[in-house]
Assembly symmetry: C2
Homo-oligomer: 146 residues x 2
């Protein structure tokens, strides 16, 4: 079996983001990986659900907790197409996420613009995986909206 790379998982998060795009939602997607397998996936649904808290990350936190029957995501990696916002970073901190991998950086609303650090101190972070594809999809969405 070929080794699954971070890019492979981010491509799956991008597929989720494209589902959001097709529903006229800001195109952000996320998957949760445990033991090299995707166990949860979601995309932004703030318009459809009429709920500002329905970000992809918040939905996968809840879905994963339901699935594993525990509220901590200690052995999980979340792949998300955009750097999480303050709300999502706070949620990931409470969940004690093991690893966060994101695509595009968000220099305005991204959690890393705040201090002290918002994530749990043990959460490992990698940014910029498939950055161009992830940010292009978001730029295209907002271009279409103007």
């Amino acid at each position: 079996m070929l080794r699954t790379t971070p890019e492979d998982f981010m491509r799956q998060a991008l597929i989720e983001a494209e589902k959001a795009y097709d529903k006229d939602e800001v195109p952000i997607g996320a998957v949760v990986v445990h033991n090299n397998r995707i166990i949860a996936r979601a995309h932004n649904l703030t318009e459809r659900l009429n709920d500002t808290t329905a970000h992809a990350e918040m939905q996968v936190i809840t879905a994963t907790s339901n699935l594993i029957g525990g509220k901590y995501l200690k052995n999980c990696t979340i792949y998300v197409t955009l750097e999480p916002c303050v709300m999502c970073a706070g949620g990931l901190a409470w969940a004690q996420l093991e690893q966060l991998v994101f695509g595009a950086y968000d220099n305005v609303r991204g959690y890393s613009n705040y201090s002290p650090p918002l994530l749990h101190k043990r959460t490992k972070v990698t940014g910029g995986i498939l950055e161009d594809e992830c940010s292009l999809l978001i730029r295209e969405f907002f271009k279409k909206k103007r």
Copy 2:
């Protein structure tokens, strides 16, 4: 009719917090007020729901959006017994909450320990309403737990 005071609404948030206490949840409660009426109420359910995102504030954001059929809480005041955390402050920011009133200050995990400011710039904030009652309930909970 007698004028309803912030203390009256905070007392209702405290009643929610007591419901959490009785379920062995960290005792935090919240109510949403619109036109001087309570339109949503919730208490922390992170244990019962096995979900770190099930804070009182997150639940009342979702409940209020469902009720008013819109995702912005522009004409609403949230009364919550403890200063919101980063996650909840981020959620309240996206919801463009008009006014936040909280009871006890949280010098460790409270949103106001972070910068730049986490809330929406137009959200008015008052802290310390029924502070003693709100913090006593939380202290009693953790004393019982030790």
